[in-house]
Symmetry: C2
Subunit: 210 residues, 2 copies
Protein backbone atom coordinates (compact mmCIF):
# COMPACT_ATOMS: atom_id res chain seq x y z
CA UNK A 1 0.00 0.00 0.00
CA UNK A 2 1.09 3.50 -0.76
CA UNK A 3 0.56 4.71 2.81
CA UNK A 4 3.51 2.61 3.94
CA UNK A 5 5.83 5.20 2.46
CA UNK A 6 4.57 8.08 4.60
CA UNK A 7 7.16 9.20 7.14
CA UNK A 8 6.35 8.81 10.82
CA UNK A 9 6.89 12.56 11.22
CA UNK A 10 3.94 13.22 8.90
CA UNK A 11 1.88 10.51 10.61
CA UNK A 12 2.60 12.17 13.95
CA UNK A 13 1.06 15.39 12.71
CA UNK A 14 -2.16 13.85 11.37
CA UNK A 15 -3.96 13.56 14.73
CA UNK A 16 -3.32 17.24 15.29
CA UNK A 17 -4.92 18.14 11.93
CA UNK A 18 -7.79 15.88 12.88
CA UNK A 19 -8.23 17.64 16.21
CA UNK A 20 -8.21 21.16 14.75
CA UNK A 21 -10.55 20.21 11.91
CA UNK A 22 -12.90 18.66 14.47
CA UNK A 23 -12.95 21.94 16.36
CA UNK A 24 -13.63 23.94 13.20
CA UNK A 25 -16.39 21.50 12.29
CA UNK A 26 -17.94 21.78 15.76
CA UNK A 27 -17.84 25.56 15.36
CA UNK A 28 -19.89 25.24 12.15
CA UNK A 29 -17.08 26.30 9.83
CA UNK A 30 -17.42 24.66 6.42
CA UNK A 31 -14.25 25.62 4.62
CA UNK A 32 -10.79 26.77 5.51
CA UNK A 33 -7.77 27.91 3.50
CA UNK A 34 -4.34 26.46 4.21
CA UNK A 35 -3.36 29.97 5.34
CA UNK A 36 -6.20 30.11 7.88
CA UNK A 37 -5.40 26.61 9.09
CA UNK A 38 -1.76 27.69 9.30
CA UNK A 39 -2.67 30.66 11.53
CA UNK A 40 -4.74 28.54 13.90
CA UNK A 41 -2.32 25.62 14.08
CA UNK A 42 0.85 27.73 14.08
CA UNK A 43 2.57 25.71 11.40
CA UNK A 44 3.37 27.04 7.93
CA UNK A 45 0.78 26.81 5.17
CA UNK A 46 3.38 25.09 3.02
CA UNK A 47 3.87 22.40 5.68
CA UNK A 48 0.13 21.80 5.72
CA UNK A 49 -0.04 21.52 1.94
CA UNK A 50 2.96 19.20 1.86
CA UNK A 51 1.58 16.97 4.61
CA UNK A 52 -1.83 16.66 3.02
CA UNK A 53 -0.38 16.14 -0.45
CA UNK A 54 1.01 12.85 0.86
CA UNK A 55 -2.55 11.61 0.84
CA UNK A 56 -3.72 13.19 -2.38
CA UNK A 57 -4.18 16.83 -1.44
CA UNK A 58 -7.87 17.39 -0.67
CA UNK A 59 -7.62 21.12 -1.36
CA UNK A 60 -8.88 23.12 -4.32
CA UNK A 61 -7.07 26.15 -5.66
CA UNK A 62 -9.00 29.26 -4.62
CA UNK A 63 -11.44 27.34 -2.44
CA UNK A 64 -9.30 25.84 0.28
CA UNK A 65 -10.34 22.76 2.18
CA UNK A 66 -13.82 21.51 2.87
CA UNK A 67 -13.66 21.08 6.65
CA UNK A 68 -16.11 18.21 7.05
CA UNK A 69 -14.69 16.27 4.12
CA UNK A 70 -11.08 16.72 5.20
CA UNK A 71 -11.97 15.78 8.78
CA UNK A 72 -13.62 12.56 7.59
CA UNK A 73 -10.79 11.72 5.21
CA UNK A 74 -8.08 12.21 7.82
CA UNK A 75 -10.17 10.13 10.21
CA UNK A 76 -10.21 7.34 7.64
CA UNK A 77 -6.47 7.64 7.01
CA UNK A 78 -6.00 7.30 10.78
CA UNK A 79 -8.15 4.17 10.71
CA UNK A 80 -10.81 5.68 12.96
CA UNK A 81 -13.62 4.30 10.82
CA UNK A 82 -12.57 0.83 11.98
CA UNK A 83 -13.19 -0.60 15.41
CA UNK A 84 -10.20 -1.55 17.52
CA UNK A 85 -10.53 -3.99 20.38
CA UNK A 86 -8.13 -3.41 23.26
CA UNK A 87 -6.99 -5.04 26.45
CA UNK A 88 -5.01 -3.36 29.18
CA UNK A 89 -2.27 -5.21 31.00
CA UNK A 90 -1.89 -3.61 34.42
CA UNK A 91 -4.91 -2.47 36.46
CA UNK A 92 -3.05 0.28 38.32
CA UNK A 93 -3.83 4.00 38.29
CA UNK A 94 -2.60 4.49 34.75
CA UNK A 95 -4.59 1.54 33.42
CA UNK A 96 -7.66 2.86 35.21
CA UNK A 97 -7.09 6.36 33.86
CA UNK A 98 -7.02 5.02 30.30
CA UNK A 99 -10.15 2.87 30.74
CA UNK A 100 -11.99 5.85 32.16
CA UNK A 101 -11.07 8.16 29.32
CA UNK A 102 -14.31 8.07 27.33
CA UNK A 103 -12.97 9.79 24.24
CA UNK A 104 -11.08 6.68 23.16
CA UNK A 105 -14.35 4.79 23.00
CA UNK A 106 -15.94 7.48 20.88
CA UNK A 107 -13.09 7.05 18.37
CA UNK A 108 -13.67 3.33 18.08
CA UNK A 109 -11.11 2.10 20.61
CA UNK A 110 -13.08 -0.37 22.72
CA UNK A 111 -11.56 -1.62 25.96
CA UNK A 112 -12.62 -5.24 26.35
CA UNK A 113 -10.56 -6.59 29.22
CA UNK A 114 -8.07 -5.70 31.94
CA UNK A 115 -5.42 -8.10 33.19
CA UNK A 116 -3.27 -8.00 36.29
CA UNK A 117 -1.16 -10.27 38.47
CA UNK A 118 -2.72 -9.06 41.73
CA UNK A 119 -5.29 -11.67 42.71
CA UNK A 120 -7.04 -9.24 45.06
CA UNK A 121 -8.19 -7.39 41.93
CA UNK A 122 -9.55 -10.40 40.03
CA UNK A 123 -13.25 -10.03 39.39
CA UNK A 124 -13.39 -6.36 40.31
CA UNK A 125 -14.75 -4.03 37.67
CA UNK A 126 -13.40 -0.81 36.22
CA UNK A 127 -16.10 1.03 34.31
CA UNK A 128 -17.87 -2.28 33.80
CA UNK A 129 -14.76 -4.12 32.61
CA UNK A 130 -13.67 -7.11 34.68
CA UNK A 131 -10.08 -7.47 35.90
CA UNK A 132 -8.80 -10.95 35.03
CA UNK A 133 -5.71 -13.03 35.81
CA UNK A 134 -2.91 -13.06 33.24
CA UNK A 135 -3.44 -16.80 32.73
CA UNK A 136 -6.71 -16.04 30.92
CA UNK A 137 -5.08 -13.60 28.53
CA UNK A 138 -4.38 -15.99 25.66
CA UNK A 139 -7.92 -17.35 25.43
CA UNK A 140 -9.41 -13.88 25.92
CA UNK A 141 -7.37 -12.40 23.07
CA UNK A 142 -8.46 -15.13 20.69
CA UNK A 143 -12.13 -15.21 21.69
CA UNK A 144 -12.55 -11.44 21.64
CA UNK A 145 -10.45 -10.72 18.55
CA UNK A 146 -8.28 -8.27 20.43
CA UNK A 147 -5.92 -6.34 18.16
CA UNK A 148 -4.30 -3.85 20.55
CA UNK A 149 -2.73 -4.45 23.95
CA UNK A 150 -1.94 -1.57 26.27
CA UNK A 151 1.00 -2.18 28.59
CA UNK A 152 0.88 -0.28 31.87
CA UNK A 153 3.14 -2.69 33.74
CA UNK A 154 6.68 -2.28 35.08
CA UNK A 155 9.49 -2.51 32.57
CA UNK A 156 10.95 -5.74 33.96
CA UNK A 157 7.86 -7.73 32.95
CA UNK A 158 6.91 -5.75 29.84
CA UNK A 159 9.31 -7.42 27.43
CA UNK A 160 8.14 -10.94 28.28
CA UNK A 161 4.45 -10.00 28.30
CA UNK A 162 4.83 -8.27 24.94
CA UNK A 163 6.33 -11.46 23.46
CA UNK A 164 3.42 -13.49 24.82
CA UNK A 165 0.90 -11.04 23.40
CA UNK A 166 2.49 -11.16 19.97
CA UNK A 167 2.38 -14.96 20.05
CA UNK A 168 -1.36 -14.73 20.84
CA UNK A 169 -1.90 -12.67 17.70
CA UNK A 170 -1.90 -9.09 18.98
CA UNK A 171 -1.08 -6.66 16.13
CA UNK A 172 -0.43 -3.45 18.03
CA UNK A 173 1.08 -2.54 21.38
CA UNK A 174 0.53 0.78 23.10
CA UNK A 175 3.48 0.70 25.43
CA UNK A 176 3.67 2.77 28.63
CA UNK A 177 6.41 0.61 30.16
CA UNK A 178 9.73 2.39 30.30
CA UNK A 179 11.54 0.00 28.00
CA UNK A 180 11.91 -0.42 24.25
CA UNK A 181 10.09 -3.47 22.92
CA UNK A 182 11.63 -5.33 20.03
CA UNK A 183 8.82 -7.04 18.19
CA UNK A 184 8.65 -8.95 14.90
CA UNK A 185 8.02 -7.09 11.66
CA UNK A 186 4.36 -6.40 11.12
CA UNK A 187 3.68 -5.69 14.79
CA UNK A 188 3.19 -2.00 15.53
CA UNK A 189 4.44 -0.44 18.75
CA UNK A 190 3.63 3.06 19.89
CA UNK A 191 5.50 4.18 22.99
CA UNK A 192 4.44 6.68 25.61
CA UNK A 193 7.57 7.13 27.68
CA UNK A 194 6.40 9.54 30.37
CA UNK A 195 9.82 9.84 32.01
CA UNK A 196 11.40 10.79 28.69
CA UNK A 197 8.80 13.49 28.23
CA UNK A 198 9.40 14.91 31.70
CA UNK A 199 13.18 14.87 31.15
CA UNK A 200 12.73 16.78 27.91
CA UNK A 201 10.76 19.40 29.80
CA UNK A 202 13.54 19.53 32.38
CA UNK A 203 16.13 20.02 29.64
CA UNK A 204 14.17 22.88 28.12
CA UNK A 205 13.71 24.51 31.53
CA UNK A 206 17.38 24.30 32.47
CA UNK A 207 18.72 25.30 29.05
CA UNK A 208 16.52 28.42 28.97
CA UNK A 209 17.39 29.56 32.46
CA UNK A 210 19.14 32.77 33.27
CA UNK B 1 23.74 29.58 26.12
CA UNK B 2 24.92 27.17 23.47
CA UNK B 3 22.35 24.51 24.36
CA UNK B 4 19.59 26.71 23.02
CA UNK B 5 20.65 25.80 19.51
CA UNK B 6 20.13 22.05 19.93
CA UNK B 7 17.21 20.76 17.90
CA UNK B 8 14.26 19.28 19.75
CA UNK B 9 14.78 16.07 17.78
CA UNK B 10 18.17 15.63 19.45
CA UNK B 11 16.74 16.62 22.83
CA UNK B 12 14.03 14.00 22.40
CA UNK B 13 16.67 11.31 22.03
CA UNK B 14 18.71 12.27 25.11
CA UNK B 15 16.43 10.56 27.68
CA UNK B 16 16.77 7.34 25.71
CA UNK B 17 20.59 7.54 25.82
CA UNK B 18 20.29 8.24 29.53
CA UNK B 19 18.09 5.19 30.02
CA UNK B 20 20.38 2.81 28.14
CA UNK B 21 23.52 4.15 29.82
CA UNK B 22 21.81 3.70 33.19
CA UNK B 23 21.15 0.07 32.33
CA UNK B 24 24.76 -0.49 31.23
CA UNK B 25 25.96 1.19 34.41
CA UNK B 26 23.67 -0.98 36.56
CA UNK B 27 25.08 -4.02 34.76
CA UNK B 28 28.60 -2.96 35.82
CA UNK B 29 29.77 -2.08 32.32
CA UNK B 30 32.38 0.68 32.39
CA UNK B 31 32.92 1.56 28.79
CA UNK B 32 31.08 1.19 25.54
CA UNK B 33 31.90 1.96 21.91
CA UNK B 34 29.47 3.88 19.75
CA UNK B 35 29.13 0.68 17.70
CA UNK B 36 28.14 -1.34 20.77
CA UNK B 37 25.74 1.36 21.88
CA UNK B 38 24.37 1.40 18.34
CA UNK B 39 23.70 -2.36 18.45
CA UNK B 40 21.87 -2.15 21.77
CA UNK B 41 19.88 0.96 20.96
CA UNK B 42 19.22 0.09 17.32
CA UNK B 43 20.23 3.46 15.98
CA UNK B 44 23.28 4.03 13.80
CA UNK B 45 26.66 4.66 15.42
CA UNK B 46 26.96 7.80 13.32
CA UNK B 47 23.66 9.12 14.74
CA UNK B 48 24.98 8.52 18.26
CA UNK B 49 28.26 10.32 17.53
CA UNK B 50 26.42 13.21 15.88
CA UNK B 51 23.95 13.55 18.73
CA UNK B 52 26.62 13.52 21.42
CA UNK B 53 28.88 15.86 19.45
CA UNK B 54 26.23 18.52 20.00
CA UNK B 55 27.33 18.58 23.60
CA UNK B 56 31.05 18.24 23.08
CA UNK B 57 31.47 14.59 22.19
CA UNK B 58 32.49 12.73 25.37
CA UNK B 59 34.08 9.88 23.41
CA UNK B 60 37.74 9.08 22.86
CA UNK B 61 39.03 7.58 19.64
CA UNK B 62 39.83 3.91 20.25
CA UNK B 63 38.38 3.92 23.76
CA UNK B 64 34.72 4.67 23.25
CA UNK B 65 32.59 6.19 25.97
CA UNK B 66 33.05 5.95 29.70
CA UNK B 67 29.59 4.75 30.74
CA UNK B 68 29.42 6.33 34.20
CA UNK B 69 30.80 9.65 33.01
CA UNK B 70 28.53 9.85 29.98
CA UNK B 71 25.52 8.87 32.10
CA UNK B 72 26.28 11.66 34.57
CA UNK B 73 26.93 14.21 31.85
CA UNK B 74 23.71 13.47 29.99
CA UNK B 75 21.88 13.61 33.31
CA UNK B 76 23.33 17.10 33.84
CA UNK B 77 22.42 18.20 30.32
CA UNK B 78 18.88 17.02 31.06
CA UNK B 79 18.89 19.09 34.22
CA UNK B 80 18.46 16.07 36.47
CA UNK B 81 21.07 17.35 38.94
CA UNK B 82 18.62 20.11 39.83
CA UNK B 83 15.49 19.69 41.87
CA UNK B 84 12.16 20.47 40.25
CA UNK B 85 9.10 21.24 42.32
CA UNK B 86 5.80 20.23 40.77
CA UNK B 87 2.10 20.60 41.32
CA UNK B 88 -0.58 18.56 39.60
CA UNK B 89 -3.81 20.18 38.50
CA UNK B 90 -6.45 17.47 38.41
CA UNK B 91 -6.65 14.74 41.07
CA UNK B 92 -8.23 12.13 38.77
CA UNK B 93 -6.80 8.75 37.86
CA UNK B 94 -4.09 10.18 35.65
CA UNK B 95 -2.98 12.70 38.27
CA UNK B 96 -2.89 9.92 40.84
CA UNK B 97 -0.94 7.66 38.50
CA UNK B 98 1.72 10.34 38.07
CA UNK B 99 1.99 11.08 41.80
CA UNK B 100 2.38 7.39 42.51
CA UNK B 101 5.14 6.89 39.98
CA UNK B 102 8.15 6.86 42.28
CA UNK B 103 10.77 7.10 39.58
CA UNK B 104 10.04 10.78 38.97
CA UNK B 105 10.95 11.52 42.58
CA UNK B 106 14.21 9.65 42.24
CA UNK B 107 15.11 11.91 39.30
CA UNK B 108 14.52 15.06 41.32
CA UNK B 109 10.92 15.78 40.30
CA UNK B 110 9.18 16.43 43.61
CA UNK B 111 5.39 16.55 43.70
CA UNK B 112 4.40 19.17 46.25
CA UNK B 113 0.71 19.71 45.79
CA UNK B 114 -2.40 18.52 43.99
CA UNK B 115 -5.27 20.81 43.03
CA UNK B 116 -8.79 20.03 41.96
CA UNK B 117 -12.21 21.65 41.65
CA UNK B 118 -14.06 18.76 43.35
CA UNK B 119 -14.61 19.82 46.96
CA UNK B 120 -15.21 16.22 48.04
CA UNK B 121 -11.50 15.65 47.43
CA UNK B 122 -10.18 18.66 49.39
CA UNK B 123 -8.01 17.53 52.26
CA UNK B 124 -7.69 13.95 51.05
CA UNK B 125 -4.16 12.70 50.54
CA UNK B 126 -2.53 10.95 47.62
CA UNK B 127 0.76 9.40 48.67
CA UNK B 128 0.98 11.94 51.48
CA UNK B 129 0.19 14.92 49.27
CA UNK B 130 -2.91 16.91 50.13
CA UNK B 131 -5.53 17.76 47.52
CA UNK B 132 -6.32 21.47 47.66
CA UNK B 133 -8.88 23.83 46.08
CA UNK B 134 -7.79 25.75 42.98
CA UNK B 135 -8.22 29.03 44.91
CA UNK B 136 -5.11 28.20 46.92
CA UNK B 137 -2.99 27.61 43.86
CA UNK B 138 -1.49 31.08 43.52
CA UNK B 139 -0.24 31.29 47.10
CA UNK B 140 0.96 27.70 47.03
CA UNK B 141 3.02 28.23 43.88
CA UNK B 142 4.73 31.27 45.38
CA UNK B 143 5.34 29.84 48.84
CA UNK B 144 6.65 26.52 47.59
CA UNK B 145 8.67 27.83 44.66
CA UNK B 146 6.88 25.55 42.22
CA UNK B 147 8.45 25.56 38.76
CA UNK B 148 6.46 22.88 36.93
CA UNK B 149 2.69 22.41 36.72
CA UNK B 150 1.22 19.19 35.42
CA UNK B 151 -2.17 19.57 33.74
CA UNK B 152 -4.41 16.51 33.91
CA UNK B 153 -7.65 18.44 33.47
CA UNK B 154 -10.14 18.53 30.58
CA UNK B 155 -9.17 20.64 27.59
CA UNK B 156 -11.92 23.22 28.06
CA UNK B 157 -10.38 24.45 31.31
CA UNK B 158 -6.71 23.81 30.48
CA UNK B 159 -6.09 26.98 28.47
CA UNK B 160 -7.38 29.28 31.22
CA UNK B 161 -5.62 27.41 34.02
CA UNK B 162 -2.35 27.47 32.06
CA UNK B 163 -2.62 31.25 31.72
CA UNK B 164 -3.20 31.58 35.47
CA UNK B 165 -0.23 29.35 36.24
CA UNK B 166 2.05 31.38 34.00
CA UNK B 167 0.92 34.57 35.73
CA UNK B 168 1.83 32.94 39.08
CA UNK B 169 5.37 32.35 37.84
CA UNK B 170 5.31 28.74 36.65
CA UNK B 171 8.14 28.11 34.15
CA UNK B 172 7.17 24.73 32.74
CA UNK B 173 3.93 22.97 31.94
CA UNK B 174 3.62 19.24 31.45
CA UNK B 175 0.38 19.17 29.53
CA UNK B 176 -1.84 16.09 29.33
CA UNK B 177 -4.92 18.09 28.30
CA UNK B 178 -5.87 17.49 24.70
CA UNK B 179 -5.31 21.03 23.55
CA UNK B 180 -2.33 23.09 22.42
CA UNK B 181 -1.34 25.74 24.94
CA UNK B 182 -0.03 29.02 23.63
CA UNK B 183 2.23 30.44 26.30
CA UNK B 184 4.58 33.43 26.39
CA UNK B 185 8.18 33.04 25.30
CA UNK B 186 10.33 31.61 28.04
CA UNK B 187 7.65 29.24 29.29
CA UNK B 188 8.27 25.63 28.33
CA UNK B 189 5.44 23.28 27.44
CA UNK B 190 5.81 19.57 26.94
CA UNK B 191 2.70 17.83 25.67
CA UNK B 192 1.59 14.26 26.22
CA UNK B 193 -1.35 13.91 23.87
CA UNK B 194 -2.49 10.35 24.57
CA UNK B 195 -5.21 10.39 21.91
CA UNK B 196 -2.72 11.45 19.26
CA UNK B 197 -0.46 8.58 20.24
CA UNK B 198 -3.29 6.06 20.03
CA UNK B 199 -4.38 7.43 16.63
CA UNK B 200 -0.84 7.05 15.36
CA UNK B 201 -0.89 3.41 16.44
CA UNK B 202 -4.24 3.03 14.66
CA UNK B 203 -2.77 4.54 11.48
CA UNK B 204 0.16 2.15 11.55
CA UNK B 205 -2.11 -0.83 12.16
CA UNK B 206 -4.49 0.03 9.33
CA UNK B 207 -1.79 1.02 6.84
CA UNK B 208 0.10 -2.25 7.40
CA UNK B 209 -2.95 -4.47 7.08
CA UNK B 210 -3.40 -7.14 4.47
Amino acid sequence: MEEKEISQAVVSRLPRYFRYLGELKDAGIERVSSQELSDIMRVTASQIRQDLNNFGGFGQQGYGYNVGYLYDEIGKILGLHKEHRLIIIGAGHLGQALVNYMNFERRGFLFKGIFDIDEKLFGTQIRGITVRPMQEMERFVLENEIDIAVLTIPKNSAVEVAEQLVSYGIKGIWNFAHVDLHVPRGIQVENVHLSDSLMKLSYNLVSHEG
